[in-house]
Symmetry: C2
Subunit: 456 residues, 2 copies
């Protein structure tokens, strides 16, 4: 769908004309659910509801899966409860649990009571797990077979069972009578092995598996690393509880990346759901943003004190004040570049602790090289502008020193944090920027004072 | 693998003791390839080679796929050419093309000549596509069937063909005699339909497909949106050329995220491979970092000029200079938070252009609320510290105004860039930080000057 806005316009025209409801209904139902989800998100609240009501129940349930949580709850809450129940029943168990878990508690109960008994029991169990663990992410409906079946028997069994229970099929899991996980068979193996072979001969018993309590960040890492399509989830006793598929993980990866990016600019997501910062109450957003701003406030007061310490110098040569933003801006900028490179490199695994010293040295040299060139430009410019060579020299020299220092601090800090088992992403941006401010001012004023003592 | 460092230690011990080569060999080959790739990355160059030589060829080829490009080339270049050829032949076509494409041209040719004719022809064709397009990412070996086959016939055909050609199996593609793509059948449908049903009855003909020239960023978006496991790739004439699977896309998503994060701190990745910035020559890194630093330099010179414009004020009340870093630091910090939230929100689709005005208003209010509280604290502190109420008021008031302005600029700019079809991530950080510096100084000095004119 490359022309979303044209589609939206067309839909709005059809919405305006009451006589074209049938045409609109037909058009809407002809889109892929993922596209429809995009369209609905662009529409205004009432338009969205009006359209959603025209969509077939099966497609409506697919769309719900593609929508962000808040919109899921909003739409299902606004339509007829019977209709909503039908839509929820058609969702995979894990998606149904997500939707119901995001509703108010009494609303969740109302729906659970309306749903078919078996379905509602299974969803109720899912709701007992933390949303951000394997238990909360998994689909409990899994295709399992016995170890003594043959390929032919499994094929026959799958043909009936998968359709009946609407099971996802990525792998087939081999379990014993107590449902302990003992093997995994890929569909590929099943489809390419002679039919009289025992399943035990083609199954892998060296299984990569998840525990119900595993955290989503760890699960995402496992998926990224092993590149499986699905991983089985077991409980403490190795009993198979469900399966997490790679598409469940897409959202987790995006969420983890968002948290990493937020953290690096000092937005705290520890106790706050990262969706809420943009979409929740303004107070939530303020709560996420204030802590590190406050740390910056304290840090910058130190910078103010450093500057104040040199008030004699400032009075003797007031012109030096006007170059403060220039020095702070450039050092802050190149330092942020270093932090960004290190934090991201450590997060993706491109950098390891082994390379800490090498990278600090390398970034320091890069800072020195760029700082020297920029320092020279600033010296020449200031000299030409203010007709004051020494002033130009002080500013240019400070720039070279501060830019080098900024790259070194920006490189050293993330490695040091990692070494101390602190996530390097957390607030590295604001804290390091403040440290660079304080140090940079000290360098600049020290040079200026030395000059004044010597020549003025 | 939760204890990588213990494993590394153990391997180093075994490496040191010549007599334990067999034990080492056995241990290494008992790991999962993804774990082995992690281990190899942690080892020093010689250790890595020594270990790699002990690994069975099949496992070695799996490991190669998990390693970063540079290490792939380094290892294959350092081992015996015959051994390397065997490893390359065991790779899937797309992985083989990636590895060979990363080598020097004459080295690529040497290997292509050594490989089996059919394999080398197919890889040669892949090498003609741009690495960052569907053609460069796809695996050309696809399971295709005719439209008039029955489920039973397809199952029989797959049983022979998939094993023979070592094909990935996610979907089965239905093509006509000229290899035009006309349908897709999921393995699930194949396994759950009666065997005498015609494939044409269970295939989907409304196919989401990629074109060989589609860019990887677009492909990643399609995968994220539709959550398919694999997408077929066709040429201009709708002839099936290959298939891109979701695991190919994992790396692309990571790469695109890295580029987005780099861009936001002013590291240019347009013409520079983002891997090279950390691992390539220092000159490459400098080239990626200098352009936006230079823009910052010019921007900050404007800030210097603004400050210079008020040199009378600075001479009359030199103390105001020391609060410059405090004001710039806090405004810069809260502005960066706003940019980060908007850029990420627009990138993930959590925010749409529709919500621009709302978000500018919301962020402005948040800036005002936080700014008012911080401004009050700063006023009181400055008053108490310098015993100068008016100075405290100027600093506090500037802080409140600058923090509000910063949130508004930080919110407005990404939306405005998006509206003009510029990627909001590009350099938004440094450019906006500079704009906030300039505006913030103007506000602060204007207030200070007004006060001086009135009271001093």
């Amino acid at each position: 769908m490359k022309n979303l806005s044209t589609t939206i316009e067309r839909i709005r025209e059809l919405l305006d004309d009451v006589s074209s409801e049938e045409t609109l209904k037909e058009e809407l139902n002809s889109f892929h659910s993922a596209d429809l989800a995009d369209i609905l998100q662009e529409l205004k609240d009432e338009e969205r509801l009006e359209c959603f009501k025209l969509i077939d129940v099966e497609k409506a349930s697919e769309i719900i899966e593609y929508l962000p949580p808040q919109l899921q709850v909003e739409i299902l809450g606004a339509i007829d409860q019977e209709h909503a129940s039908r839509i929820i029943t058609m969702l995979p168990h894990d998606a149904a649990a997500d939707v119901l878990g995001d509703m108010e508690d009494d609303e969740t109960e109302t729906y659970l009571d309306k749903l078919p008994q078996k379905f509602s029991d299974e969803v109720r169990e899912l709701l007992t797990y933390n949303e951000e663990t394997a238990g909360g992410l998994m689909n409990p409906l899994v295709m399992t077979v016995n170890i003594d079946m043959t390929v032919q028997q499994v094929l026959d069994y799958v043909r009936i069972k998968a359709e009946e229970d609407n099971l996802d099929l990525y792998y087939i899991y081999v379990v014993d009578k107590q449902n302990h996980l003992i093997g995994v068979v890929s569909l590929r193996a099943l489809l390419t092995t002679r039919k009289n072979v025992k399943i035990s001969e083609i199954m892998t018993s060296d299984i990569v598996k998840l525990h119900v309590d595993d955290q989503q960040g760890y699960i995402a890492d496992e998926f990224m690393k092993y590149q499986f399509n699905a991983l089985p989830v077991v409980d403490l006793y190795n009993r198979l509880k469900g399966v997490v598929t790679w598409d469940d993980i897409q959202d987790v990866v995006e969420e983890e990346t968002t948290e990493e990016i937020y953290a690096s600019s000092g937005i705290a997501t520890g106790s706050i759901d990262e969706d809420e910062i943009l979409e929740g109450s303004m107070f939530t957003s303020i709560r996420a943003r204030t802590p590190w701003l406050f740390v910056t406030l304290i840090g910058e007061f130190i910078a103010v004190n450093v500057a104040n310490h040199f008030d004699g110098t400032l009075k003797a040569l007031p012109i030096i004040a006007i170059f403060m933003p220039l020095l702070a801006g450039l050092a802050g900028n190149i330092g942020t570049q270093s932090i960004t490179l290190m934090v991201r490199g450590l997060s993706t695994g491109q950098l390891t602790m082994n390379s800490a010293l090498y990278n600090i040295f390398r970034e320091g040299l890069i800072g020195l090289a760029i700082g020297a060139v920029f320092g020279l430009m600033v010296t020449l410019f200031t000299w030409g502008w203010q007709h004051h060579f020494e002033l130009g020299l002080i500013v240019g020299l400070s720039m070279a020193i501060n830019m080098s220092l900024a790259t070194i601090i920006g490189t050293l800090t993330p490695f040091a944090m990692k070494k101390m088992n602190i996530d390097p992403a957390v607030a590295s941006g604001p804290v390091i920027a403040t440290a660079i401010d304080v140090l940079g001012l000290a360098v600049y004023f020290t040079l200026a004072t030395a000059f004044i003592i010597k020549f003025m």
